[in-house]
Symmetry: C2
Subunit: 191 residues, 2 copies
DNA sequence: GTCTATACCTGGATAGAC
DNA sequence: GTCTATCCAGGTATAGAC
């Protein structure tokens, strides 16, 4: 990773490994080896494993906010923007089939570990939830925007979990189409 | 646990702890302490941690099969039986809000660990999937029974994941109602 | 800033007495 | 069947040289 500080490289590598192997199953040695530094040097940048986790969550929050802003620009209508969200199931389908949803699996793991950072990780979910809710409101669904946002979030989580379990592209495609139709119906009702 | 052998107690305790704390995060010491035996004694019953995991998965398979058979008896119509499945989200809602779905979270964890038992754990999903598919066929949906089964499985997984993240009973109730209506509509179409 | 060396602990696993 | 004692690997964390 050229032009990146060691700290940045550590966080980005940890981000990826936490996703691929899980938080607990990823050791300092794993991260240090991939970054290409010694374990000792590691502690110069991050004192504890919790500190790395916090940095990873912060990075994910920043990246997610940037993605949502991008969708704001990409989509002409609220319906288009929500469709951007639905389409990540296709865009990231290879990774999702291998590792599940980065947000869902992290929150699930931290919940089981009873980890202090669980509340922070949950803010990733809230970010999507609030953004989707905003879009549904803009779509003319002021009344049930919150419920629609949660429903869509749940549907995509379920698709990610089963895609991971069954490695079935056809299933993902079918569910994305169904979600797209569901969205269009909600928009039509509002108009 | 009166009238149970030590081995049975170990497996049942491991079953619960793997659900509550996750597989990797549960140590032999944790299980031994709860059962009330020494760590050394533990190895008299199970040689490796993998062996315990296999025993736990086998137990879950047996318990799941028994539950599905019970639903066959409880429900008069295929629609009633599928509704039994939907209702576990309500029946187990306290545990689901705390620990997520036992099947989904185990499969997700084993996928990240790249664990050999992943395929076995996935049979739990297949059990539900095949049973649901059978019920949808009996409902008169021979054509799309498989897709409907996967769809319902995904929906319930998503609800479990978000219930765990947000601890929101109202959300669970709303999604269960929506699923119930969805099911009724599929049955009506077939009739 | 980066390294080596090392302390310390936890967890999986074994041996052998009772 | 159950125990204690023990080994060993791996993981977190620290100290200190360069």
């Amino acid at each position: 990773m050229p032009g990146k500080t060691t700290s940045e490289q550590i966080v980005e590598t940890a981000d990826r490994l936490f996703y691929e192997k899980g938080y607990e199953h990823t050791s300092f040695a794993d991260i240090a080896a991939e970054v290409g530094i010694s374990r000792g040097n590691f502690y110069h940048h991050f004192k504890t494993k919790d500190a790395i986790l916090n940095a990873v969550i912060d990075l994910r929050l920043i990246n997610t906010r940037a993605m949502l802003e991008q969708w704001e620009q990409d989509g002409q209508t609220p319906e288009d923007r929500i469709r951007c969200f639905i389409r990540i199931l296709i865009t990231n389908q290879t990774k999702i089939m291998e590792y599940g949803c980065p947000v869902g699996t992290l929150v699930s793991e931290l919940a089981k570990l009873n980890h202090a950072a669980l509340a922070d990780a949950n803010r990733l979910f809230t970010l999507f939830r609030d953004w989707l809710s905003l879009q549904f409101k803009a779509l003319g669904r002021e009344e049930d925007a919150e419920e629609l946002a949660m429903h869509l979030l749940a549907r995509s989580q379920g698709v990610a979990t089963l895609a991971n379990a069954f490695h079935d592209e056809t299933f993902i495609r079918a569910e994305v189409d169904a979600l797209s139709m569901w969205l269009h119906e909600r928009a039509r009702e509002a108009a």
